[in-house]
């Protein structure tokens, strides 16, 4: 047991650095995928067929590709196209590209949960497109979107560990460093698990709370 705590105290700096980078990566990719995903979601519900087709193709291609492959493509293949990106930005881009496909789907299905009669009635009252969207459709759609959107971001937080395989020092990369230092890996991995539980459990609790609260209101 003493050794279990010693692993953390002896290598405190490594754990702090690792988890700081994990959170940084998560926040950057969260903002990025929210922006790109919203853009793609808007394309998928737009009245322009070309944009809808582009959005659908993007989502179907990315969703059926492993995230590890997206990482590998950015790290090994993209430099061969004379585009040089550092490891950390590459990881952020890979997570953004992958996660935005799922954000897009959440937005599209959220908009689709609103009954068509709602928008029709609003138009019958003479509301403009902007009013229909901001006063009628989005307030209802957002309620349906928030819980699945949080699942997407929780999954993305866990996915940041994959960056460990591509030269980014984040929480998932700690075991590789510890292997060099000869620390007991079981203890190391337990500490990483605890770190992730601390990050994830509040998000899960918030998500369940919102889901329960808004299910009743619907």
């Amino acid at each position: 047991m003493g050794e279990f705590f010693r692993v953390l105290t002896d290598n405190g700096q490594l754990f702090v650095d690792g988890f700081t980078n994990t959170v940084k990566l998560f926040l950057i990719a969260a903002v990025g995928s929210l922006v790109l995903g919203t853009l793609l979601g808007a394309m998928r519900v737009s009245p322009v067929p070309a944009l809808r087709a582009f959005g659908a193709t993007y989502v179907n291609l990315v969703r059926n590709t492993p995230l590890t492959l997206v990482f590998a493509f950015l790290v090994f293949a993209v430099p061969k196209l004379d585009v040089n990106i550092d490891y950390f930005p590459s990881a952020a881009i890979a997570l953004t590209v992958y996660t935005s496909a799922f954000v897009c789907e959440v937005i599209r299905s959220g908009v689709n949960t609103v009954a068509a009669g709602q928008a029709e009635a609003a138009r019958a009252l003479g509301m403009t497109f902007g009013q229909v969207l901001t006063l009628i459709v989005l307030p209802q759609a957002l309620r349906a979107m928030v819980p699945p959107m949080m699942s997407v971001f929780i999954a993305m937080l866990k996915n940041t560990t994959i960056a460990a395989g591509f030269s980014v020092l984040e929480a998932g990369a700690i075991p590789a460093y510890m292997a060099e230092r000869g620390e007991p890996q079981f203890a190391v991995l337990l500490w990483i698990t605890i770190g992730f539980l601390i990050l994830i459990l509040p998000l899960v609790a918030l998500q369940r709370f919102l889901e329960r609260k808004w299910r009743v209101a619907r």
């Binding site: 944009l51 291609l61 590890t68 789907e105 994959i162 190391v188 698990t193």
Partner: protein, 290 residues
């Protein structure tokens, strides 16, 4: 226009004109983007015959097939084990006895909250340190089983709970015992409703085998990197990853279409009383990913 009809009215002459202009503008934009990517590929010589030559060799094709086989083997074993794991822990969570329910809930919630890669690392680094010999395949399979098994347990539980309660009450009323209710009444209805969600979780599992790359299990992505790193062919990373991506997209896409088809098919038969679980989203786990 079926999709957009929620937000927009049927377009009048002005809206039609505006949509046509937007359509042309966006088509030009998309073509310009693709053309730029194509130019970048051509500019850096990605279309040179030398970079693609390898794929004609039967030894390289065999290498790719070997990688695909390693991927499918890991996915197949992990899928069977995850389904079993899911069934055991779902029945634990549905049990009347708290002594079974509490530990099952703990296990399912715990393994869903740990990143899959960390679970795989448990099976990889711990034996490595103590010098136990464990095949990388099993490190990968155990991680996949624990994570996907926990998610499947939640799918099973949601599926059983989605059968209307009147079915259970009716079954008890005609004198069936507990296991008969589950076996004869609940499961047949629940399995039909769960099938799309199960298939799409298996797609996730198949995609997750690519994590084997990080612990150097020789699966498809790993083989792709080896093929891409060959100097005599001008380091064809781009062609190699495009080929690997095409293989993944074909297999996962086919399975996704199966899930979608199952969902459509279930949706149309009124015989199922249980609500069909959507292929991409199950309760709080909607839009699950790796």
């Amino acid at each position: 226009m079926s999709q957009a009809s929620i937000l927009y009215d049927l377009p009048g002459p002005r809206a039609k004109r505006r949509n046509a202009i937007l359509g042309v503008a966006s088509t030009v934009g998309i073509i310009a983007l693709l053309a730029y990517i194509g130019y970048k590929f051509a500019d850096t010589g990605q279309f040179e015959a030398r970079k693609w030559e390898q794929f004609q060799y039967s030894s390289v094709q065999r290498e790719l097939l070997g990688g695909l086989w390693a991927t499918l083997k890991a996915a197949g074993i992990a899928a069977v084990l995850a389904l079993l794991f899911g069934a055991v822990f779902a029945s634990g969570r549905l049990s009347d006895k708290w002594i079974l329910r509490a530990p099952s809930t703990f296990v399912v919630e715990l393994f869903r909250a740990i990143p899959l890669l960390i679970l795989i690392f448990f099976g990889y680094y711990v034996p490595l340190q103590y010098g136990w010999s464990i095949d990388k395949l099993w490190a990968l399979v155990i991680g996949l089983m624990l994570y996907n098994g926990s998610v499947l347990a939640e799918i099973f539980r949601a599926g059983i709970n989605a059968v209307p309660y009147g079915q259970t009450e009716g079954a008890y009323a005609i004198g069936l015992r507990k296991n008969q209710v589950l076996r004869l009444i609940l499961l047949p209805q629940a399995v039909r409703s769960m099938l799309p969600a199960i298939v799409s979780q298996l797609v996730v599992l198949l995609k997750d085998t690519a994590l084997g790359f990080i612990i150097t299990y020789p699966e498809l992505l790993f083989v792709g990197k080896q093929i891409g790193g060959r100097l005599p062919f001008g380091l064809p990373y781009v062609p190699a990853y495009l080929v690997v991506a095409a293989i993944y997209i074909t297999i996962c896409g086919a399975l996704s279409i199966l899930a979608w088809w199952l969902q459509k098919r279930m949706g149309r038969t009124p015989r199922t009383a249980a609500k069909v679980l959507p292929a991409q989203s199950v309760g709080e786990d909607s839009a699950r990913m790796i």
